[in-house]
Symmetry: C2
Subunit: 279 residues, 2 copies
């Protein structure tokens, strides 16, 4: 698939990192971004091909388009540009919540195919200047097909995942994906944010050990992106937060009642389950 | 202070690591443990000095005794052995919660002085075979004096902290220490445990990214030790869990009500505060 034209729409941290990985393996990579500086930077750094073609021409010539936009912009971009797409175009995205986007896009698409994916990778920074194809090393790529997708498109996305050196490439339904993301990614982010917002803690910095730092690393959150992601997945996330609060309250009651046996039981479950998660 | 006799009581991970650090810097280190195998291992590995003296003799000859026992055992050990102490002995401990232990011990002590310390370091393993003096590198040592302590004892404990390569050596009151530990260490551990106990999550292992792993690393908890620590500090910890739950509930309500501005405000506070914690 080296002869195909790849178009990255939205050249931030993830878009830039995908572009870098594809370019390094000799694929033809183009990009569109509302920020001209990001495009110029990427051309200068040879992250994307240097061309003077207009955005319209880039879209018309693209075989594979990867949408690396904020969740709220993905649908609109497709809807506004769909008349330009090649008949055979394959579109994909990197959005962290799939429910609304996937069905909506598949319903308006007249040409080509939209197959969602979610590269489970990121950093606490944003912008193409931080792009680094190594962020995918050892990470998971989730492909989220519906009944409208073809197996040949799934193979194409798998191929991209392999080029980018993802450790696991998995297939999940929209609901399975959004549920999994709520518990494994969004709930931890909500917890980290709540822990930092809980009190002014500047005076505690010099006493902080690794556990507090590990637990709150992800609290350095991109406010615009994550407010969109949390709200887009609120159906699962609100229930998960409630469930977590109930479990933490149970732990608290065991402490308050000095119920040593019940505490030890929770610690044993915790230790056993967490040991299974070791790489 | 190289001519002094150091006695480690309780040769587990922390006791063993302190012993190793002191021995490597040519101090005279002895140890007592109910587990004869731990003592033999430490003698074979030259972590402590090889001697045939009885425990009674070791206690009688000790200039500095460091209690590395479970919290519930510290007071009883001192009370049962205090008649053997040298007139000039300095006792210290490594217990994670100070309120009950410190005052109680200082009140029964007839000879010598008890000055509490808390090396804020650990691993998710226990036993002298995991002892490693490097666990203190970059960590905090909190010294917790009361009005009964002398400045010369504080200097002796600081000296030990320096030998063991702690990054910071800080002085806190009992209440300041226990409050700080509740928020910075115990609350994160309670959160990690609750997150793992929340549901059976074995089937999610292959989708897990770094954020979930980082947040739950400390969930591999020593059940006996931490149930003692949580209960010993319940006065602070129960309030801290309540406060955290209130903040997380506020975050949840903002998600549920799709209050983007309020969410962004929390994320901004979170990001700003967490950035201050970067080393």
């Amino acid at each position: 698939m080296k002869e195909l034209n790849y178009l990255i729409v939205g050249l931030g941290l993830i878009g830039g990192s995908i572009a870098k990985g594809l370019t390094k393996t000799n694929h033809n990579v183009y990009a569109i971004d509302i920020n001209k500086e990001s495009i110029n930077y990427a051309k200068d750094e040879k992250i994307i091909l240097n061309t003077n073609e207009s955005n319209e021409e880039l879209i018309k010539n693209a075989d594979i388009i990867i949408l690396c936009l904020y969740p709220s912009m993905v649908f609109n971009w497709v809807n506004e540009n769909k008349h330009l797409f090649k008949e055979s175009v394959l579109l994909s995205d990197v959005t962290g919540v799939k429910k609304e986007i996937v069905t909506k896009i598949q319903n308006v698409l007249e040409k080509g195919e939209f197959l969602a994916m979610h590269p489970m990778a990121g950093r606490e920074v944003s912008g193409v200047q931080y792009a680094n194809e190594n962020i995918f090393l050892g990470a998971n790529l989730i492909i989220v097909p519906t009944e409208k997708n073809t197996s040949s498109s799934i193979e194409k996305i798998k191929y991209i995942g392999e080029i980018l050196s993802f450790k696991n490439i998995e297939i999940l339904s929209i609901d399975e994906h959004d549920k999994m993301i709520s518990y494994l990614s969004q709930l931890p982010h909500a917890i980290a944010v709540a822990l930092m917002c809980d009190r002014n803690n500047d005076h505690l910095i010099r006493y902080t050990g690794d556990s507090f730092r590990d637990l709150t690393r992800i609290a350095k959150i991109n406010a615009s992106l994550w407010s969109e992601l949390f709200i887009a997945n609120k159906e699962h996330l609100v229930l998960d937060i409630d469930s977590f609060i109930a479990t933490l309250s149970k732990l608290k009651n065991n402490i308050d009642e000095e119920n040593v046996e019940a505490l030890k039981e929770m610690f044993s479950i915790s230790k056993e389950r967490r040991t299974n998660f070791d790489k």
